[in-house]
Subunit: 491 residues, 2 copies
Amino acid sequence: VNERVQQATDAWTQLLGPKSVTTDPELLAALGANATGFAPRAVVAELHPTSTDQIPAIVHTARRYGVPIYPYSTGRNWGLGSRLPPRPGCALVSLRRLDRIREIDVRQHYAIVEPGVTQEQLADRLRDDLLPAVLNVTGSSPRSSVVGNLLERGTGFHNHRVDDLRGLEVVLGTGEKIRTGFWGTGAGPRSRHHYRQGLGPYLDGLFTQSNLGVVTAAVVNLVPAQEETSTIVFSFTGTLVAEMIEELAELYREGVLRQITHMFNDKRLLTLRGASTVPTWTGVTAVSGRRDFTALAADLIASHLGRLGASVSVISPRDEVDPFLAGLRDVHLGRPTEMFMRGVHEVLGGTSEGIDLDELDASPVGMLVCNPFLPLEAAPVLEAMDIIERTCEDRTVVPAIAINPVDGNALEMVVNIYFDRTAPHEAAAAHACNALLHERLYGAGFRFYRVDIENMSFLLSRETAGWSVVSKLKAALDPDGIISPGRYSMS
Amino acid sequence: VNERVQQATDAWTQLLGPKSVTTDPELLAALGANATGFAPRAVVAELHPTSTDQIPAIVHTARRYGVPIYPYSTGRNWGLGSRLPPRPGCALVSLRRLDRIREIDVRQHYAIVEPGVTQEQLADRLRDDLLPAVLNVTGSSPRSSVVGNLLERGTGFHNHRVDDLRGLEVVLGTGEKIRTGFWGTGAGPRSRHHYRQGLGPYLDGLFTQSNLGVVTAAVVNLVPAQEETSTIVFSFTGTLVAEMIEELAELYREGVLRQITHMFNDKRLLTLRGASTVPTWTGVTAVSGRRDFTALAADLIASHLGRLGASVSVISPRDEVDPFLAGLRDVHLGRPTEMFMRGVHEVLGGTSEGIDLDELDASPVGMLVCNPFLPLEAAPVLEAMDIIERTCEDRTVVPAIAINPVDGNALEMVVNIYFDRTAPHEAAAAHACNALLHERLYGAGFRFYRVDIENMSFLLSRETAGWSVVSKLKAALDPDGIISPGRYSMS
């Protein structure tokens, strides 16, 4: 251990207390395990702050001794690197204990949450306090961080999660704490969070997919509770993909559809439900609002998709349904579920034991993700699917694919590659396949909306001009480059 | 004229040609006239580039000789300073001749426009080419810039205009040209503009209400044309304001209302229509979509507002109506109109001649604007209105007020103070009143979403910590501070 690291660790220990600083080499090595199966990077310590007030001093110490930090919220960025830093030599900073829900306002429908607040925790609070507001949840673990997923620009079932962002509290690389928009101006309590932009340059975007600061709290939009939510579940054959996309695009343009639609291929569906046969594609979407509007909208969507040849069910919150349909409905009602990950162990062939998702990073399950973001048009989606299928076939990998229209313009694609991390040959094939997917899709003109810590370098090498602006901002806000070096950044 | 200014002007003249550089002192002095009635700031030249390719060289020259530039689009930022720089010694850069509509894509519903493109020009193009898309227009002059108003974060009749932003081309203060999001990455032609965020930190927000770069083109969302648009016009007495706000808030939360509502007080309405008596408040909103949905929504809105005591009409695009109602409908159909400014000369008492809006800055009409942005709740709106009315009464000014719910959270307030610029005493009273409005509203905890070039210094003096981050970004992207010094920035 070099001297600067020792000094930094001593200072952090003095600040946080010895129980909140992990330096035991065996424990640190265990932190390197990750579902993605990337080679662990050496970390010099793990810090466990218990209050956001400790973050400026943690940053000052990092800066003083030149030891970079890699903060993570709950570390469940599975498939993209979990809590693994791109570069060795960082101190991990777990923000899991910063788990205060600071405020909930149902009239202005927002919550102010710290990075350790999980989607389960916030959804439970809304339910237990009978509050008329709903969280836009993702299909990841109920124990994943609301703030972490939002900053990574994940998608929920209601809307793209970054659109929920209404303000940030951030500690910059200088140790300075800022609050964005009207929040930072001493505005009155009812005049802080109703408008994200504030006055002057709008800054929140800078801190999403970013290593420009440590976010210590976010103001997150809640969805006002509605009289009715109709969940629409539909299945269809592979020959109908193009027509389904065009039909859904039209329903979004007309404003009939306003929430995200998810469509899972058979491979992906098998990780959601045990079944001997499943349809080639299974989709789910929902409409919420006054009952007279949702009835009209749900009928219209069902008849349009049915006319194309899909098999369609419309489910109300009062219907008795099987656990699979209940899971699809729950996420549209703001209830997080493990269902979308529950069957992930099934993909390892013989194994039939369940996996504790909280221990996924230490399990044999390997999982890689490729995330192209496409226009909501049939032709480019089919072209991308063709590249994906041919590439995976070459490598004898079966991709689990979800194609998710998010609004009238765009479709999120989530390509999951599962593998057995205990089988080195299988793991190597999966990684090679994922790298090739990124290369071929990129070469065909497609782009990604999230990227794992290893394929990132591929993009940086091809887009140096664009990323140089990010480097300038990095130098301005984190002059010594001590926050998450190399994550969504060249520096 | 000092030597650096002379050298810069020579270099700009060599670059653009003598006809594109104004240096005649009389002509430059005339550029200082402004509807706001602010004291003119001396400018050293006005440049008239004809191609966006000239902007990097203009910036390089400014930087080389240390002569700052103040770019403006069409200069119609009436009430907030028009094209007037906050500080003397700049060269104005008129971007009016950069008026190319570079691309229109109706399937992905966007247009790529340069700063000189007016809302009339873009709306006419959509109409003339029979394209199934509609522009989100503002109530300002048809000859105002789409990009300028968007970057200033103005509001349209359909939505807040900054939400239309889907990508930017910007020349930084270093002279470097960047394009944001996927646009800057060489993505395929169908994979550039469907998703504003791109990968890594989201940058567009940095260049709104900002002096961090010169925007040379913007990708602007268009609204897909809909089967039906029902315009709802309603009037009500002052006693109903609180109930109307609460009712509209509920309609937004339920998703029945999705466009901006405007409500004008009697003073403001008189600038729209000549009439001997007008209701205390007149409102307009619209619903668009499939006819079955708009019928349901329009009926519901009309019956809810009617039940409270408002007088309500629902107008279809096919109804024959008077010019006033036609104007209110036009803006919801994407047709810009002069109507919202047409009667502005009436406020000057005796005068009954019309004003050419293109010459407003040179006319006797004086106009100041105060723009608080409030939560969509009755109590704070009434509190702010009370402060405004008492302050104006003290100064014997009659404010023209619009209160405009923009979504389920927020209400834009536009307080216009009109005065005769040829009457020095009247002008001084108007300015004093507007300064006091800013002070008292700020002191009561309210905040502003746009601010004129003079009241800006009041805010900067009270919020130095927050604005210091903007200064850091300024130093990174415009190291010599040569773009619009002092506009939405301390530097």
